[in-house]
Subunit: 160 residues, 4 copies
């Protein structure tokens, strides 16, 4: 595997396996735990899980055909976090490969709700699960509607 | 003491004001937002709130007479996060002073539940609120009971 | 001292003590090491020193009467890093108080050169020393001259 | 490209191209810039480059047949940073792919010197270059010699 991409998603539309059930799109992205992400307890510091959720979110968008960068730049569409939660199931260690599984839970014109699972890439052990809720805003942080081109695809990607 | 302390709490036992009501201990610590904590949206990136919660947690312990460092080193007592949540109420900006208000919500022998409010130091506007749940563990991450010297004080510090 | 400021400088113009000699302005800011800043080696991860340098830089500007926030917002003046170096002399541990000593090494119209010392707040042991070089740029990252109101003060603050 | 690895190196021994000349081993690892790594200037905050250097370092070791994790765990061998420097040549933006090129500059029994280039994965533009110097230490941060099995390989990997 030559020159593979850090942060590159698996691009597989995967259903079932406990999340994103009944046909919803699920993005699977692998990340390698960095030394900087550990703390003196010898495990990953807990705020990093939220950064990995964001990596998963961006890759799910890419899988659906969108670039979050262009959403901001071209469509003045920002996805601002209003609620974030993580339940930690098992410690994550340095140099581990972590599978970030991201899916859409609900989509409305002004609110998007993502779900996440972190699993050990080797063995599939559940490491954490979480959710984030986002409002759609413009560059001045004023709420706005999600443009229809996104809504259409997002609605189709939500698990039923 | 010239050269005031970054991360130094106000050491005030404050009750009411919406949290930690009815006599519980509340720690108030001020932090100054660092440039590194902002993102390209021009506001603080949302995972940093959890780092500030941890700063508040440590300072609440210090206010109660304990050093978290010594809890780990001397008493083999680690406070591992099992659940963390934040609700974001208003964007936080570079160089803002943020008041981190931390209090104990529940304490049992093996589980500790903290609550938090982030407020603008100037004006008191609510910026975020959150909770974290922790289990008590030893250095090998094996669950254990909180030693009685902590339990005694923690029970007294919980808001009724 | 009630409600002290995290990241608040000591506001003392201090000369000598090895740096900023011969009358230059030196800012001394104390920071408390956060758990998130440690790694599994049990010490502060080395990239955090550069974040502390930035805290010191901002507080030195404040001591000189300027807000870096306003430099950006009001004067379209950004201080972009072009070179950064740190020499690590001793490990820094969780919950330690670190004294960040920041001073101006050279100032030209388009280039600013800062120097730093990190010392243990208790005992004064040298923990690290470093330098950063910055170019003055506008919001589009185009090089520009530092406005005269800053130049005048900065020139006076450089150690001879 | 199914299930590719974030932080996975290209595993290519590459010579020339300005660094690692004359036959030294060069690791090329791609990383995708995370939102969390940007700041309000709209570019990557400068301390993150040092985290990417560390990613490159670990992947160069892996390319040479070693796991840094096992160096720590099995051989009580820590590579502690004593000097780190980065020269920033061009701003790095959110969602960019960055090629981290890492090579060994010098190796002695107790000191290892790495060099780095960050290049735009698309187009190859030089974004930054840097060096880090490390001493070999045991878990208590006491200097020690690098075990011969590493020395042998490292000596062969240094560019002449």
């Amino acid at each position: 595997m030559d020159g593979t991409m850090s942060g590159e998603p698996s691009h597989g539309i995967v259903s079932g396996r406990g999340i994103g059930d009944a046909g919803g799109a699920v993005n699977e992205t692998r990340i390698r735990v960095r030394y900087a992400e550990t703390d003196q307890m010898g495990v990953v510091y807990h705020s990093n899980h939220f950064i990995w959720f964001e990596v998963g979110r961006v890759e799910l968008l890419r899988q659906l055909g969108f670039s979050y960068k262009e959403m901001e730049t071209n469509d003045d569409c920002f996805i601002a976090v209003v609620d974030a939660r993580c339940r930690y199931k098992a410690p994550v260690h340095y140099d581990d490969e972590v599978l970030v599984r991201t899916f859409l839970k609900h989509v409305r014109e002004k609110v998007i709700h993502f779900g996440y699972e972190l699993r050990s890439a080797e063995g599939g052990r559940l490491l954490a699960e979480g959710e984030t809720t986002h409002i759609v805003a413009d560059a001045r942080m004023k709420p706005r509607k999600l443009p229809e081109k996104y809504m259409k695809v997002f609605r189709g990607a939500v698990g039923k």
